[in-house]
């Protein structure tokens, strides 16, 4: 069963004081996330990531379209007991302590009174806040609030977790802990839908990613496939103090560092380059196909439509030529 089925969800706001005109926040979005999947929703600030999450959480209402969450209509209040949500830069009731806040949210989520306290303590420990559990949230740092946010999102053991920029405001250690937490959720069989603009996190964690820009979903793909696509180029590394003559004729881009040379050249020239190195009695260190990084995929999807079409045409031609 699909965990999330977004069916042409769209949102526009009326802006302006006198003459109100619609501003599109999300163009019709169609997307399916499978159960147990970790999905990364990528896009620059203002791309429509938060709008999508707010629509799914029922915090804003769609202009058109709908979505099904865990097999139910997204408006069904029952859905919410199976869903956890961490908003972007969360802010909580600062008159409460972390323990009181989690207890309150546990009550609202229907966590049974028996065992609620134990569950709260368990969550506090899981996000490393046991020592600060009795401190009012007004004294918490941004990073600590983010941890509380994560704890409240998974407190009621939801099947599906939405995280809006979960790494924002965290130091490198905190980011690593969040990454570990998402990994744990994956092992527990939860579905995680998280938005981010930190591509390395998405590459490390996600099964699939979607790129959204200017309210439009520009592309969706499995991270493993996107990054396994070769660019039709190879990278050759060998011991040499200068670039051998003739390599440039093969279309290689070279870089010398110390006694090593790094050369990137078209796949078709690979054999010719190796012959050249053999002839020159140069010791080869490695030969690897150049893979596309998630960043390249992301940047490509963010470019204007004409440029993207041009890229795709070039890609098709290249594939055709290599077959």
């Amino acid at each position: 069963m699909a965990a999330i089925e977004i069916l042409d969800l769209e949102k526009s706001y009326l802006v302006g004081f006198w003459r109100k005109r619609p501003k599109v926040a999300l163009r019709p979005l169609r997307l399916t996330i499978e159960e147990g999947e970790v999905f990364g929703f990528l896009g620059p600030n203002g791309a429509g990531k938060t709008t999508t999450l707010k629509l799914l959480m029922g915090l804003v209402f769609p202009t058109a379209g709908t979505a099904r969450i865990l097999g139910r209509d997204m408006d069904d209040p029952q859905v919410k007991s199976q869903v956890g949500f961490l908003p972007e830069q969360p802010y909580f009731y600062d008159h409460l302590t972390a323990r009181e806040l989690l207890n309150y949210y546990g009550q609202l989520s229907g966590v049974p009174a028996k065992g609620r306290s134990a569950r709260v303590e368990q969550m506090l420990a899981r996000v490393g806040l046991s020592d600060s559990a009795g401190v009012q949230l007004r004294k918490f740092s941004k990073g600590m609030l983010q941890r509380v946010g994560l704890a409240q999102a998974i407190l009621h053991d939801p099947k599906l977790v939405f995280l809006d920029e979960p790494m924002s405001g965290l130091d490198p250690m905190g980011r690593r802990e969040v990454r570990d937490l998402i990994q744990q959720l994956r092992h527990e069989g939860k579905t995680v839908f998280f938005s981010t603009h930190i591509l390395s996190d998405a590459e490390a964690l996600c099964d699939r990613v979607g790129v959204i820009h200017q309210g439009e979903l520009r592309g969706v793909g499995a991270v493993a496939e996107l990054t396994s696509e070769t660019q039709g180029r190879v990278e050759i590394v060998f011991f040499a103090e200068k670039v051998p003559a003739g390599l440039a004729n093969l279309g290689a881009e070279t870089r010398v560092s110390g006694d090593m040379v790094n050369a990137v050249l078209p796949e078709q020239q690979q054999d010719a380059a190796l012959d050249l190195l053999r002839r020159e009695r140069i010791q080869l260190i490695s030969l690897t196909p150049v893979r596309r990084s998630l960043e390249e995929y992301y940047i490509q999807k963010l470019r204007p439509a004409e440029e993207r079409q041009e890229d795709e045409r070039r890609e098709e031609n290249r594939k055709g030529a290599s077959v």
């Binding site: 915090l59 919410k80 969360p90 008159h95 949210y105 609202l108 229907g110």
Partner: protein
């Protein structure tokens, strides 16, 4: 979601609202000020020979009413708008909580806060009464009824503050609610004016007179200060009126809030 869960959720939200209010220092300052005013009533009473009781009840209950209304407006206007502005609402409404449950829970939380406040301020008034009269009299029981009416006033003011807070900024909500409180306190005069006015102006005056909350009917301070009894029929009418008026304002708040996008 069963109704038990629904009632429990409203209770949890109400308790959290109450807890937030009692942890706010502003509240204690206001209560302290109201108690100080009750104390000052003794001094004023002492210089007004034979009318000590009248002065203490009048000043004491006016202080309870005024500071209660200030608290109701100060907290009430932020109940919904502050939660939207600070985005604390996101993690509440992403749980199995319906929007109307949130609004109703907030209302109960604030009225609970005001009932507790009124209790402490009322204790101050009765201590002042005891100080000037050295004993309680039978007519002091009517002071309790006047206090009950003050609580009914708070109910209406809370509901109005919540209503305005569901679609407007805290500042505008405060202005609207306070304006309605002032007009509502003059509702009887407004109704009198509406009766003697003819034509379109008369109709308009009538509409306004019946639309604004009749808070003057809930103000029995002067009567009880003079030791006058309050008819039991009035207690019933006022109770029904205050409950219906508050329910209507809360329903309005719910209807608006149900459709609101939390940007």
């Amino acid at each position: 979601m069963n109704s038990g869960g629904m009632n429990a959720r409203i209770g949890y939200i109400a308790f959290n609202t109450f807890r937030e209010a009692v942890r706010d220092r502003v509240l204690y300052n206001l209560i302290a000020f109201a108690l100080l005013l009750s104390g000052a009533a003794i001094l004023v009473g002492e210089v007004s020979i034979d009318i000590e009781r009248l002065v203490v009840v009048n000043l004491g209950l006016t202080a309870v009413s005024l500071f209660g209304v200030i608290i109701a407006i100060l907290i009430g206007i932020g109940l919904v708008s502050k939660e939207i502005e600070k985005r604390t609402l996101y993690t509440v409404l992403s749980r199995p909580v319906r929007r109307w449950e949130f609004v109703v829970g907030k209302f109960f939380g604030l009225t609970g806060t005001l009932v507790v406040n009124t209790f402490f301020m009322a204790v101050g008034v009765f201590l002042a009464l005891l100080y000037v009269a050295h004993k309680f009299e039978k007519m002091d029981a009517w002071v309790l009824v006047a206090l009950y009416f003050i609580v009914l006033q708070f109910l209406i003011v809370c509901a109005l503050a919540l209503f305005f807070s569901s679609f407007s900024t805290p500042l505008m909500s405060a202005v609207f609610t306070f304006a309605l409180f002032v007009i509502g306190s003059l509702a009887e005069d407004l109704r009198g004016f509406a009766i003697i006015t003819q034509g379109v102006a008369g109709l308009l005056a009538k509409a306004i007179a019946y639309l604004v909350p009749n808070l003057s009917a809930l103000n029995m301070i002067n009567q009880v200060a003079h030791g006058d009894a309050i008819p039991s029929r009035l207690i019933l009418y006022n109770t029904v009126y205050a409950l219906l008026y508050s329910a209507m304002a809360i329903s309005g708040a719910v209807l608006i809030f149900q459709r609101r996008n939390l940007k």
